[in-house]
């Protein structure tokens, strides 16, 4: 259980997020949406404990996140970001094994190596083994990072948390679906998955719950995606849209009017 109570974060008088109260349960895939600058990524960073100086409490399993040791926390939650800029040549294997860094001291155990191989098999990137990271396509690179992040929180005795910060924003359709269906699958393995996404229809396809933010506040929480209305889209994104039924998923599908 991840519990956020009264979260605020401000730089001088400007509040980037304000009065956030949200609970996240195991097995649930939550997507946070909103315009640029609505405070989505800030909220995600606060929940993942990479942003200091916020007010309010974040609890993982009824324990304040600040009371966790950094390594303890790293075994509990992982974060996939939008893009990684790596300066020096490094192999795919070296990236994936980094996910196990919090788990070993200086040399990876057989268990660590086994987990990395298992993850790469599941994500279907075994053929990338030994490849130079810089030569991968954007989609391949993001799948490698996904493998690293999953290796980090592989053991599922306790529930784990996976954060995705705009994980598919510059990928093509195939990779967008691959990454998000992986995330959905992880959430079904008793994990909490929280993602920031920009594509409403992708969100509707994979999320269990959508949280809409505006100007640092939470404006709507859709536990049932069918509650999505044209007014919400207009209010949040300032775009005129129509909602129809998606025959593949039997969920709402948003189509836009021309500006």
């Amino acid at each position: 259980m991840l519990k956020a109570s009264n979260i605020s974060y401000n730089i001088k008088e400007k509040y980037l997020v304000k009065d956030i109260n949200l609970n996240f349960g195991e097995g649930q895939f939550t997507v946070i949406m909103g315009q640029n600058g609505a405070g989505k990524s800030t909220l995600l960073k606060i929940l993942a404990n990479s942003m200091k100086n916020s007010t309010g409490d974040v609890n993982y399993n009824n324990k304040d996140i600040h009371s966790y040791h950094a390594l303890e926390l790293a075994k509990l939650r992982a974060v996939l970001s939008q893009h990684y800029d790596i300066t020096f040549p490094i192999t795919v294997d070296d990236i994936v094994i980094m996910g196990r860094y919090p788990h070993f001291k200086s040399v990876p155990s057989h268990e660590d190596i086994k987990i990395c191989e298992e993850v790469m098999k599941q994500i279907n990137i075994e053929d990338l083994k030994g490849r130079e990271y810089g030569t991968l396509s954007g989609g391949e690179a993001q799948k490698v990072q996904m493998a690293r992040v999953l290796a980090q929180i592989w053991e599922k005795e306790t529930s784990k948390i996976l954060f995705l910060d705009e994980p598919v924003s510059n990928l093509d359709m195939k990779y967008q679906h691959q990454i998000l269906s992986m995330a959905q699958k992880i959430s079904r393995e008793n994990c909490i998955v929280i993602a920031v996404l920009h594509d409403i229809n992708l969100s509707l396809t994979y999320a269990d719950r959508i949280v809409f933010m505006k100007d640092g506040f939470i404006k709507y929480v859709l536990n049932d995606l069918k509650e999505l209305s044209e007014e919400i889209i207009l209010d949040i994104f300032n775009v005129k849209a129509k909602i129809i039924n998606n025959p593949f998923t039997d969920k709402p599908l948003v189509i836009y009017e021309k500006d």
């Binding site: 950094a70 303890e72 020096f88 040549p89 294997d93 980094m98 860094y101 200086s106």
Partner: protein, 356 residues
């Protein structure tokens, strides 16, 4: 099976063998060449404590008290500067960083020049209880202040901005060089000459005492840095990402900068400013077998020692019986390499557009 520890041991073995051979060759080469047979006799006599008849006492002294400490000094300083380069490049995720760029070397040079010029004066005479450690301590103080000024200027909100760091490094370098130049100007002749010569780096003053000090400090620092290899690897993903993997990036950065300053300043205080070694060596290793930091640190120590000993040997023979400051050779080899690197880097970044 992939994930198996990559076969670094071959590289380590080859480099170690080259290093040992080079130490022997370097110790015999110079204005006066010592034959291998003589070296064998010297070593045999020393180790077994026997007096070998007909031994050339002058050459023995030359071997034991000049050539050997000098060669060891080269190896240790080369190792230290190269590890420092590898460390700085990984820490700042930038291929063109080395101790000379962020002010460390120039600051150390200023601290040391200060002792050269004022060391014999009364008000500093009271510091005499530091004895032989006075010079390295002054160098460390200068290097530390210079590095911290650059670091403080380039970091805001807990992040280091690389462009600002390089520009601040330029400014601090210029200031320290100006200070050193001023000291050379007001100094009496012999001191001035030693400052000038030493500003280009020289191993001619190496003896066993200085060699031991530099060796102990460098060894300690390298072992210490090795313990951070994993954290350095994680930081290649970015500092925030390393944080998600449980690395305390701010603490890691500050500790490593201090250790790095210590290592560079101690070496600089004895042999002067030697640029570009720290830049070139890690890149050669990356070309051989990737950028794992554990490998880069061990490899840099070995390859840095080799290149420095070789460069010093070249200095002694190229215009024998006179000798050239080693900084001239490293600059002639290193600076074009630096330009090549810069060019390659610019091409790689052209897509994203980088204006600084």
């Amino acid at each position: 099976m992939i994930f198996k520890k990559a076969k670094y041991s071959t590289i380590y073995t080859v480099l170690s063998i080259i290093l040992v051979l080079l130490i022997i060759v370097a110790a015999r080469t110079g204005a006066v060449n010592i034959s291998y047979g003589e070296i064998y006799d010297f070593l045999y006599g020393k180790i077994c404590g026997v007096d070998i008849p007909g031994i050339n006492k002058v050459n023995e002294g030359l071997f034991y008290y000049i050539r050997l400490p000098r060669t060891f000094m080269c190896v240790v300083v080369g190792a230290g500067l190269s590890v420092s380069g590898a460390l700085m490049q990984s820490l700042f995720r930038n291929p063109i960083v080395e101790p000379g760029i962020i002010g460390t070397s120039a600051g150390a040079a200023f601290g040391a020049a200060f002792v050269f010029v004022f060391g014999k004066m009364d008000f500093l005479g009271r510091m005499a209880f530091f004895g032989d450690l006075f010079l390295p301590l002054a160098a460390f103080a200068g290097a530390f202040i210079a590095t911290m000024v650059v670091y403080k200027f380039s970091s805001s909100f807990g992040k280091v901005n690389i462009t600002t760091m390089i520009l601040a490094g330029m400014a601090v370098n210029a200031m320290a060089a100006g200070g050193t130049g001023f000291l050379a100007y007001i100094a009496r002749d012999p001191q001035a000459r030693s400052i000038t010569f030493w500003n280009l780096g020289t191993f001619s003053g190496a003896d066993w005492k200085s060699c031991t000090i530099v060796f102990v400090v460098t060894l300690f620092c390298i072992i210490f840095i090795m313990r951070y290899a994993k954290q350095l690897n994680a930081m290649q993903l970015g500092e925030t990402e390393a944080g998600y993997l449980g690395v305390n990036t701010e603490r890691t950065k500050i500790i490593l900068i201090i250790v790095n300053t210590l290592m560079v300043s101690i070496a600089t205080s004895f042999v002067g400013v030697i640029s570009f070694v720290g830049l070139v060596v890690p890149h050669l290793l990356r070309l051989m077998k990737g950028s794992d930091n554990r490998y880069l640190i061990i490899g840099s120590a070995l390859l840095g020692g080799i290149l420095m000993a070789a460069a010093d040997m070249l200095c002694r023979v190229i215009i024998a019986p006179a000798e050239m400051p080693i900084g001239i050779i490293t600059a002639f080899v290193g600076a074009p390499f630096f330009l090549w690197l810069l060019n390659r880097n610019l091409r790689a970044h052209r897509k994203e557009g980088f204006f600084a």
